[in-house]
Symmetry: C2
Subunit: 366 residues, 2 copies
């Protein structure tokens, strides 16, 4: 049986927003009763989204994120009907270790791109986040200017869960946002490894924010992250820190030299800036603009998007095949024992695997 505490996602939504499920309150105290919103049909959701209605978009995203099967059924229909309206945006992934100044940077980047018009959605992937702890408020506070901008939509990471699940929800939210007319999508993630790969698999441009500091920044970068970057930007290049930032810039430039050329043919630039003092922001965005011209011309833009769509289909299949095996109660009961037999040289890895698989397929036939 599942412990009710595990259902944090749904609880969080209900308590924070009063949607779909009223909080448990004394029914006689009318003033404490949350306002019940009218249930919408699939076509009402789709119409609202395509019209650019932020409230309806927001409610649709809540459905996407819900763990309730009946919500998922509606959500999937809504997403499918929104698909033809999606795809017309530039998607930028933004990553950086905690303390690199991601939120301030996204705030100033966002204001900069919105000066030219259009609409910006800021999403996030953070498998460790727990929405019930109030990070909605957190995110909005951290991006002060964007939070009050009429053309922006900020949505924090879906609540904690498997990375695959969290990432899928963010990817589906991108579709809804695009259908609602958002032509710029930022997807933020923390610099902790696997979540970068997930973000990379859903954006067109991957921006890595770094910080100049001890002079040995490069050692702190997780494996594989630098190879994903389409651009590296070094924050806090201001005041007495400028020299350090320039040094880090040189270091990163020579480090990039050691990585094989990317499939796009694009060579990732390294720039310095100051999010706090608003220095060098235009240059960063010019670089990103240049990238999009470059990859749209050489065909890599469409190629990458197609690869991503396929990737997500296959990834969803593979994750499901694994989950279905490893979460099977009979397999769970046997797995540790077989692993120990392998570790004690009583079984080969292959025979242990085969015994588990035979059991599994027999169970599926029951």
């Amino acid at each position: 049986m599942e412990h009710p505490e595990n259902n944090k996602e749904y609880k969080g939504l209900a308590v924070n927003k009063g949607i779909e499920k009223p909080a448990s309150v004394n029914p006689y105290l009318k003033s404490h009763r949350p306002v019940m919103k009218k249930k919408l049909s699939v076509s009402e959701y789709v119409e609202g989204i395509v019209k650019g209605d932020i409230t309806i978009l927001s409610r649709a995203v809540t459905l996407v994120e819900s763990v309730l099967p009946e919500h998922q059924v509606i959500a999937q229909e809504v997403i499918e009907k929104c698909l033809p309206y999606s795809g017309h945006s530039i998607r930028v992934g933004i990553s950086g270790v905690p303390g690199a100044g991601k939120s301030t940077s996204i705030d100033v980047f966002g204001l900069h791109v919105l000066q030219k018009g259009g609409k910006l959605a800021v999403l996030a992937i953070d498998p460790s986040s727990e929405r019930s702890k109030g990070s909605i408020l957190g995110d909005k506070t951290r991006m002060e200017q964007l939070a009050v901008h009429p053309a922006s939509f900020i949505r924090p990471s879906p609540a904690a869960g498997s990375l695959g699940g969290v990432a899928r929800k963010t990817r589906e939210t991108i579709i809804l946002c695009e259908a609602a007319g958002f032509d710029k999508i930022f997807v933020e993630t923390v610099g902790v490894g696997q979540s970068e790969t997930a973000v990379h698999s859903m954006v067109d441009f991957f921006l890595l924010i770094q910080l100049a500091g001890t002079g040995d920044e490069l050692q702190g970068i997780k494996r594989g992250i630098m190879e994903m970057a389409d651009g590296i930007v070094i924050n806090k290049a201001d005041g007495t820190n400028i020299e350090k930032a320039k040094l880090a810039q040189t270091q990163f430039r020579s480090a990039l030299h050691f990585f094989p050329a990317s499939d796009s043919g694009w060579i990732p630039p390294v720039l310095t800036y100051s999010g706090f003092y608003n220095i060098g922001i235009k240059e960063i965005w010019d670089m990103i603009d240049k990238y999009f011209v470059f990859v749209k011309e050489n065909g890599y833009f469409d190629h990458r998007r197609n690869e991503q769509s396929k990737y997500w289909m296959y990834e969803t299949i593979n994750e499901h095949l694994r989950d279905s095996f490893y979460h099977h109660p009979v397999i769970q009961g046997m797995l540790k024992q077989k692993e120990n037999q392998v570790l004690h040289s009583e079984l080969t890895s292959f025979v242990a695997a085969k015994k588990l698989l035979d059991t599994y397929y027999q169970e599926l036939k029951k």
Copy 2:
């Protein structure tokens, strides 16, 4: 129906060695009839291997590599009975691009380590190899001195197939060789990406052979390979090439600086040598000796071997789960269509995946 040409592995064995299946010849020409070897029982195989009988070891490896189910059954029993005698060796993976001089190097490395006694097995992983084209002879010719050394056993890559399958066979051959008293195992692979990962997952030390040349060697290295290396050695550091090799050494040393420290705590050295002129070989082997002292002391040696055993169990399971899905005839009939629907925005990646999975599980119940 399978095309008979696909069964190259078995054909190759039969034709090259005359084991288990006589070549089709005129029965009246007695002199052309290959000698039929007596079939061995599992315990005869195991006894022979443990005694160090090279002919029986060789025949057991042939069983491991066979695609015939009845051979696999015997092979798995033999491996299982050999397991308690295995594990007592040092396993060194050796990789490098074609032209780096791998064979000559392995020849001189091998002779060097055999000077101190013991026995050396040289195996290979090359998913692109086709044994029927005669690479047994090829390998033995390329390693002239080892080929005739009484304490060496050279076995080329199992025939072409999936990387997972080829790698598993090599891993199982390691077990048999160790049970036969081989205390040094070299596993060679070509520098083409995925096969390095497979080799890395079955050896204790991963040696990367590089070549000094154009001054921009680093750009040619495949993603992720340098991060696997426990040591990098630059070949052909002789004559007028010494300067270039020293330059490459400096380049690789600074490149390594940009990678995160490895889990073992070991910092990969970069050395130069000449396989052809037999210069610097002792230093390379001293480095490898030092590594083994280091990781046996800090516990990483056992840790890595345990992780590898688990990895192979889980990898076998995951590969089987995927194969069983993607090779299912009903799924194969649907897959391309669903992929196209995803690419044309008619279905979300998730819904397409779900439809395929639902079909698959229904089929399994039949």
